[in-house]
Symmetry: C2
């Protein structure tokens, strides 16, 4: 299945500018999360002129539209990931290679039941993210430059 970025942008009433399409392509080309700065570096390899503020703006707009998603990272910086799976789910983030994988389990039903029943509160949103080593990095000898998480 080949992603038609133009179509998804049209659905969101967003102009399909070359830079915007490139940003989407950059994020979709690998299942890893990237920082705005990193996206910018890759974008500048394709366009002589490319502004970092445009990258930030596009990432925000695209995330708002649901085409990409923000990764919650303990370092509190922005990271984005191109997610094909539209339904609600969470991610398993490899702290070695940055690969992001979808999780099937969520567990919010139980938590929502607890909050409603015990705390008498109302759930608005939640974040759940799991960090660890993916299959490849687990089998690795560990000569990676692992990030601390």
């Amino acid at each position: 299945m080949i992603d038609d970025f133009g179509a998804s942008l049209r659905n969101l009433r967003l102009k399909a500018t070359p830079r915007r399409l490139a940003i989407l392509d950059i994020l979709a080309s690998e299942p890893v999360y990237l920082s705005p700065e990193e996206v910018w570096q890759k974008l500048k390899a394709r366009f002589k002129k490319a502004g970092l503020p445009s990258v930030y703006r596009n990432l925000e707009i695209l995330a708002q539209g649901g085409v990409i998603i923000q990764i919650i990272h303990p370092d509190r910086k922005l990271y984005y990931y191109h997610c094909r799976n539209g339904s609600h789910h969470h991610h398993f983030v490899c702290i070695a290679c940055r690969k992001v994988q979808d999780l099937a389990f969520c567990g919010m039903d139980e938590i929502e039941r607890e909050i409603k029943g015990v705390l008498k509160g109302r759930v608005v949103s939640h974040v759940l993210q799991v960090y660890g080593l993916c299959k490849e990095c687990t089998n690795d000898t560990g000569i990676h430059d692992k990030e601390s998480v």
Copy 2:
């Protein structure tokens, strides 16, 4: 049960300085999360001289020692909360009044099983946090100055 901040600091081989004790007291006095800036404001009410860098340093040290915990917030700023419950658990954060409440359910067993079994990966850490309205704020007419989360 009265917290003996001095004792917990001694356990961590940390000096029980007046400012450090005050920071702990400020955080423990209410079950809400505070930003470093807010802690600083409250600290300055007790000490004529108090540096913001000291607040940051203390919050980091205390969080490292487990005396307080960092709250994961969508705005990606630092927030801290004095948590009495030492065992592993997660939090229900009220987006209206900032109150933090402990959750019993975690759900990581299922997720760990999925990651081990399906993805063949290894879990290192995880974040789970739930945002919503606490009992009091749910019953409210909504005249609060709610934060957007």
